[in-house]
């Protein structure tokens, strides 16, 4: 033990203790090494320990500073009598000042007179502390912090005092290390989960005539590398993707982000499923420390229901028909991405009738371990059977059957896409937002085609609908969400389209709107504009020529 300051010598134990003193010391030893302390959280353990230290050593202040190894500083974490130290987050560089030297020299230090010593922390002087004793907190020969006590009157701490303080330090140190380790792991887990979340789409695109839903469940303990995606492609095409990077943790999640972005880029360029997987496989070869992934990518033509899928080592897509029949798509298997040089990927095609659904999923859903593949797939098939109301319900039904606790060992991703049933009428509720116009045009085009309209019919009706809906968007008064409705019906080859908004009528402004009305009248057989206090209703009719 070193002595600092005025050069006063630290005394050894002052003679033989009395029996009563020996009993007190034994109790003190017990109270400081109390095993039940380790059951407390770090915060409460330090709190309780400092209270006991204060009582047993009859000191006015007691404090614990923990080492921040990255900064090379001690940070005040718990204190009694000098609570400001913690509140102000006092930081002491290792090697400097009283506490800093204890950590650097790994040895207890006694300061008989603070006024004449190298004490860095201004709070200690301000508190009027005269004498101090401090010991390092050591776990497996690593310093994790410093425990020190102080008195407001001059005091000579004995080696017995130092021994008791070291006992308390010995009780606190492992708990501190454990808590820090846990904190670090917890932080890593949380940041990995946040990363994973940020890499998945937060909102799925609204795709006309298709009903889309997706789920992602993180693994119980570790983040995984599952992803899904839905993309609106050119024309009436919709891309749907799923993937699973081998491994867990931040690295898997980061690779997943790269692959998902790569897949989006290739898909938006218009490549088909096999080509997208081929390009993704090549991309993976260029990524350092690359790893492996399974993935499936499908393109659906929402107009015809044609579905083309390619799979890179991924479990087969699940098809659920409108009448509730479930089957697995018989795909030609290809190797996982990053598994083989010069791999080639194959496409399988099928057709989704209106009301049919396709589900892509990762193996977390079917927990492939220990059970023969055929059996798990049969379980999956059985879980999907029954008539689903919509894609959301289908996702829920599968999870209820296969992951009822919503917590699995592996992460789970699934995405379901259902082709909507079309009856004779088309009803759309649209937000009063210019971006909704394209969605309206896609839906109206599909509806017209389904009712025997030709190119000219489509072109003309679309132009009229576009103008009527643009009017409705402009009439909607901000603020607040506003919407309008379009209803299209067909009778005796005559299409009737009604567009109704809820805004107050405004006279056409400038040439622009006047032009709109001209176009509507020129392209439709009949146009009626009905204005009222509650909104405007435009009803248009046109005989479909089939041209």
């Amino acid at each position: 033990m070193h002595t600092r300051g005025t050069g006063q010598v630290l005394l050894g134990a002052a003679g033989e203790p009395s029996l009563a003193e020996a009993g007190d010391q034994l109790l003190a030893v017990y109270r400081l090494s109390d095993p039940t302390l380790s059951e407390l959280s770090l915060e409460r353990l330090l709190d309780e320990l400092l209270v006991r230290v204060q009582e047993i050593l009859s000191v006015d202040t007691a404090a614990v500073l923990l080492l921040d190894p990255d900064a090379g500083e001690l940070v005040a974490r718990a204190a009694k009598g000098i609570e400001e130290e913690v509140e102000q987050g006092v930081r002491i560089p290792v090697g400097r000042g009283f506490a800093g030297r204890i950590a650097a020299e790994r040895t207890p230090i006694f300061i008989p007179d603070v006024d004449h010593a190298d004490v860095l922390n201004p709070l200690l002087r301000a508190a009027g502390i005269r004498s101090m004793l401090g010991v390092p907190l050591i776990v497996q020969s690593k310093v994790v912090g410093v425990l020190h006590v102080g008195t407001l009157h001059p005091r000579t701490f004995t080696s017995a005092d130092a021994a008791l303080l070291q006992l308390a330090a010995g009780r606190a140190a492992p708990a501190i290390e454990h808590a820090q380790l846990f904190d670090a792991l917890d932080r890593e887990h949380r940041s990995a989960v946040a990363l994973q979340r940020s890499l998945l789409p937060d909102v799925l695109p609204l795709v006309p005539e298709t009903d889309v839903a997706a789920r992602y469940l993180p693994a119980r303990d570790e983040v995984g590398g599952d992803w899904y995606d839905v993309l609106e492609l050119q024309g009436s095409h919709v891309g749907v993707a799923i993937g699973d990077v081998a491994g867990h943790g931040v690295r898997a999640a980061a690779l997943m982000g790269q692959l998902r972005t790569g897949m989006r880029a290739y898909a938006l360029e218009g490549h088909g499923p096999a080509a997208v997987l081929g390009l993704l496989d090549e991309l993976l070869q260029t990524i350092r420390g690359r790893g492996m992934a399974t993935a499936a990518y499908g393109v659906i033509d929402a107009e015809t229901g044609a579905l083309t899928v390619a799979s890179a080592g991924h479990p087969p897509p699940l098809l659920v028909s409108a009448d509730g029949e479930a089957r697995l798509l018989d795909i030609r298997p290809s190797p996982p991405l990053g598994a083989l040089p010069f791999a080639s990927f194959h496409e399988t095609t099928t057709t989704l009738a209106p009301g049919d659904a396709v589900v892509l999923y990762t193996d977390g859903l079917i927990e492939l371990r220990d059970v023969p593949l055929a059996e798990t797939l049969e379980t999956l098939r059985a879980a999907a059977a029954g008539v689903p109301r919509n894609a959301e319900a289908l996702c829920e039904q599968l999870l209820d059957a296969l992951v009822p606790t919503r917590a699995a060992d592996d992460d789970v991703a699934l995405v379901a896409l259902r082709r909507e049933l079309v009856d004779g009428a088309l009803r759309l509720r649209l937000a009063a937002d210019p971006d909704e116009l394209r969605r309206m045009r896609r839906s109206v085009t599909r509806w017209l085609r389904g009712n025997g309209a030709g190119d000219e019919d489509v072109r003309d009706v679309l132009l009229a609908c576009g103008e009527a809906c643009a009017n409705a968007v402009e009439h909607a008064y901000p603020p607040g969400p506003a919407s309008f409705e379009l209803e299209a019906t067909i009778e005796d080859a005559t299409a009737t389209v009604a567009v109704r908004d809820h805004g107050g009528w405004r006279a056409p402004r400038g040439q622009n709107r006047g032009r709109g009305l001209t176009m509507m009248e020129a392209t439709m057989d009949e146009v009626e504009v009905l204005r009222s206090d509650t909104g405007t209703r435009v009803v248009m009719r046109r005989r479909l020529e089939g041209r």
């Binding site: 695109p205 993309l231 609106e232 492609l233 050119q234 938006l268 210019p434 971006d435 116009l437 394209r438 045009r441 190119d455 072109r459 003309d460 679309l462 132009l463 576009g466 103008e467 643009a470 968007v473 402009e474 040439q511 622009n512 709107r513 032009r515 709109g516 001209t518 176009m519 020129a522 392209t523």
Partner: protein
């Protein structure tokens, strides 16, 4: 979400050619105009807007064409449209009198050649 329209700008000598593909409506018409006008410099004599690859346009697009016409006229620049006779946008353009107001030619080459 895919882009509703794509714009490619190229400058040959004193002529700027703006090739638009996709659809034009009130959600992107003004942005397209801004991007096209931004490509005009002090050395520009004329602008060709190539609509051959446009599958749909509405009155918001027509409005932008008229705005472009006015803006270019104020700067002493010439505006041409390139629209093939069979283009699906012909109906909307004709209904709003565009070919009478802005010289409209079948190809970009013809439109470029007509700028003096």
């Amino acid at each position: 979400v895919i882009q509703l329209a794509r714009l490619q700008l190229r400058t040959t000598g004193e002529v700027v050619v703006a090739e638009i593909t996709g659809e034009i409506d009130m959600s992107n018409a003004t942005d397209l105009r801004g991007a096209i006008v931004g490509a005009l410099t002090n050395h520009t004599a004329g602008l060709v807007v190539d609509l051959a690859g446009v599958t749909y346009l509405d009155s918001a697009a027509i409005h932008v064409i008229y705005e472009l016409r006015e803006q270019l006229a104020n700067r002493g620049l010439q505006l041409r449209l390139a629209v093939p006779p069979e283009a699906p946008t012909q109906v909307a353009l004709r209904l709003s009198g565009v070919p009478d107001a802005v010289p409209t030619l079948a190809t970009v080459a013809e439109a470029e050649a007509s700028i003096d």
